[in-house]
């Protein structure tokens, strides 16, 4: 087990270094940061001075090494655009994104699990057919369309919920949360719904298929032969067997949500990492984009690492195969 775990760890670190190099390369080719830093009428001398100050004239490898050296020392650099430390910018924005991701995960569980079970147990009922039909829309409609439609209905037409922003936030010192105020809770509803539509549809379909398959398996047949009630069979014996893939998928989806909430955050002016990323791209703010990409890469790697490390616990055959 130890050898397996350390092997995975080394791999993860290696991939992280490669990710940071690729991220740096991509970003250094993204655009001219001077366009947003200098005015159209600045002189050639101004430009030359700025290029020198930002070390843009040095070879890419030198720049990467100094960037990577800074990373190792915990120095993430200063944003070109806002002149603020990148670490601070990201730390300020992270809570908004994490809270949005968790809220959308909560909605996913709340809606998709009961709906999925219903569709799996009673696949022929009218309600199940309606849910399945609706879930097609959830899978196919792009995020921003859902977001704009929600704003049109709940903010403009009904005036119930705010169309943008995060409401009042409370500073806990290490974390600025919007979940403790009424305006903050109201503000998170629409973006969380918009972000969860795809997950909801996916989980419903996943659970349904799994349940239908498990329903035909031997242990369910024997349970039925023993005369157990339908409820007990489905909710205790069958459902437990279907949850494993669902949980794995939701874990990975959480990474996805944090990384790719860019569109939803943009639509709702949600002040999270996604908005920061877009603003940085517009200004070719290279330090922020590099760190963001590396951070997202690291997050996926860590989630993946946990998933892989959990395999032997779920299925001991993984270890035996290695040996």
């Amino acid at each position: 087990m130890l050898a397996y775990a350390s092997g995975r760890l080394v791999q993860t670190v290696l991939v992280l270094v490669i990710i940071s190099f690729i991220g740096f390369l991509l970003v250094s080719n993204l655009g001219d940061p001077l366009a947003s830093l200098l005015t159209a009428d600045s002189t050639a001398a101004d430009r030359a001075a700025m290029i020198k100050a930002l070390h843009l004239d040095e070879p890419i490898t030198t720049r990467f090494l100094s960037f990577f050296g800074g990373l190792l020392q915990g120095d993430f650099g200063i944003s070109y655009r806002s002149h603020e430390p990148v670490a601070k910018l990201i730390a300020e924005r992270l809570p908004a994104t994490v809270e949005l991701a968790l809220a959308s995960l909560f909605i996913t569980l709340l809606v998709a699990v009961p709906a999925g079970v219903h569709c799996g147990v009673h696949p022929r009922s009218a309600l199940a057919k309606a849910i399945m039909f609706g879930s097609i829309a959830g899978v196919t409609l792009p995020n921003f369309v859902v977001g704009i439609a929600l704003i049109g209905i709940f903010s403009v037409k009904l005036g119930w919920l705010p169309s943008f922003g995060r409401g009042q936030v409370v500073d806990l010192g290490f974390w600025r949360t919007g979940l403790l105020t009424a305006s903050g809770l109201k503000a998170i509803i629409l973006p969380a719904i918009a972000l969860s539509t795809f997950q909801v549809a996916l989980v419903i379909r996943l659970i349904r298929t799994q349940l239908m398959e498990v329903g035909l398996s031997d242990h369910v047949r024997f349970a039925r032969a023993r005369g157990l009630t339908d409820n007990r069979i489905w909710y205790v014996y069958a459902l437990r067997n279907t949850l494993l893939p669902v949980v794995t998928m939701l874990g990975l989806q959480l990474g996805n949500i944090i990384a790719f909430s860019v569109v939803t955050e943009n639509v709702f002016a949600w002040p999270g990492l996604g908005s920061l990323f877009l603003q940085s791209i517009q200004a070719a703010d290279m330090p922020v984009i590099s760190i963001y990409l590396i951070l997202i890469g690291a997050m996926f790697m860590v989630i993946n690492l946990f998933v892989e490390l959990s395999y032997p616990l779920i299925d001991p055959r993984v270890l035996r195969r290695k040996a």
Binding site: D32, P33, P85, I148, A269, I281
Partner: protein
Amino acid sequence: MSRSSFAKVAAVGGVLCASLLAGVSAQAASFKFAGPLDAYTLDPHAVSNTLIFAILSNVYEPLVRRGADLKIEPALATSWKQIDDGWRFELRKGVKFADGSDFNADDVVFSFNRAKAGGVKSNLATIASAVKVDDYTVDLKTTGIDPIVPFEIVNWFIMDKEWSEKNNTVQPGSADNKTETFANRNVNGTGPYRIASRDPGVKIEFEKNPTWWDKLTGNVDKATFFVIPNNATRVSALISGEVDMIDSLPAQDTQRVAADPNLKVQAGPDLRTVYIQPDVARDELQFSDVKGKNPFKDIRVRQAMQLAIDIEGIKQKVMRGYSVPVGLPIAKEVNGFDPVLGEPTKPDVDKAKALMAEAGYKDGFAVTLDCTNDRFMGDEATCLAIAQSLARINIKVEPRAQTTGKWAQQINPPGYNTSLAMLGYSPSTYDAHLFLSSIVATRDPKSGRGTFNIGGFSDEKLDDLITKIQNEKDPTARNALLKQAMTRLKETAGFIPLHQLNILWGVKKNVDVVQPADLGFPLRYYVVK
């Protein structure tokens, strides 16, 4: 509590009540507005950027400011006059910064040196030094003769010397700083408002400065600026009533806003003027099918292009009426604009075809047009429309629309890797000379002239005129020279002017806002009824 101190408290209480009552009678109001981007920084000397100036001009003040009608008026200086080697400014007495310290000549000299070390230095290029004459008099010494110094310093904001020294922010913020400067997030100005709080990229809250030396024309005592990047959401926030005004109203939403009984569209001229500039410097174009020669070197080709572009059609179809076609690459509000020369060119395809045939390009040629897709209203669509227009004279234009960052990397110095580019410019001085010296003059790395002459245009007569204008003290003679330069600019056809943009705001009907052409938000004039 002793009797006398109780009396004092009672007296203060009375004053408070009185001022509260006064506040009620003036109907102090709060105002919420939203735009697509946030000011990058609150440091007034770090970056030269219109949005930063728009936000900060509510907090910091220059010596000389622009009024609601864009005319120059006294701010921290009460009067000014030209002296032998520059300009002398008499400063306003009794002005206090938000932290209570006094404003005087030391602050002006300090702010000059600070600005000269920061990103705004190009706005002060002709000013060599600031010299304190006495506590309330300052001389700005110019490198040569500069008759338009008051126009050049409207975005140069004055900071407090003591505050900056105390907070270790003597150096302006810049991208290569290893640490964040204090002034990046904190302000201490003399202006009509203070910043109560700011969440970068999210919102800025303003509150009235009770000790401001001047009087508010409007009644806004609290204002909040929200950043809402998505166009559809910004419009929704206005329609749902969450904000009172939005900047950058998309043209396609103007009808929807105008149809709403509580809202109005406020459109006004923007100083930014859009033009296209062909590469006339290279002997062979980089992005064209013509080999061994450069068709744009032939003035007839450039004239034909101007004649073929249907700028009125672009106004109607692409800009939905929200643009002002112009015949010069500068805006009507800019000093040096001439109404006769500035008359937009009438399209004449037959004449254009004849010119093309004369130049030997009857069958046309192909060329790539570089343009942005996120910089201003309808930029990409305008590019496509130009391509259609020029197809009529057999010039096959391939538009290459990119984000501003990519586009700038493509066309900007030192590479200038473009054959034809769509550009937009607004001179911060409201004077055509800045356009001429930075964009029309022959590229000269030494003097810094013509750095943004993307097409490498070069004309001796114009270069002479630009030098003469720079050195002319007398305003009448100077304007005559500007007119000569504009005439020459038009006949050489090195720049093909398209239109002046419009600023588009969606505003609630119960709000009166002033919308200056320099893209500012002067909250001091705003009235909420």
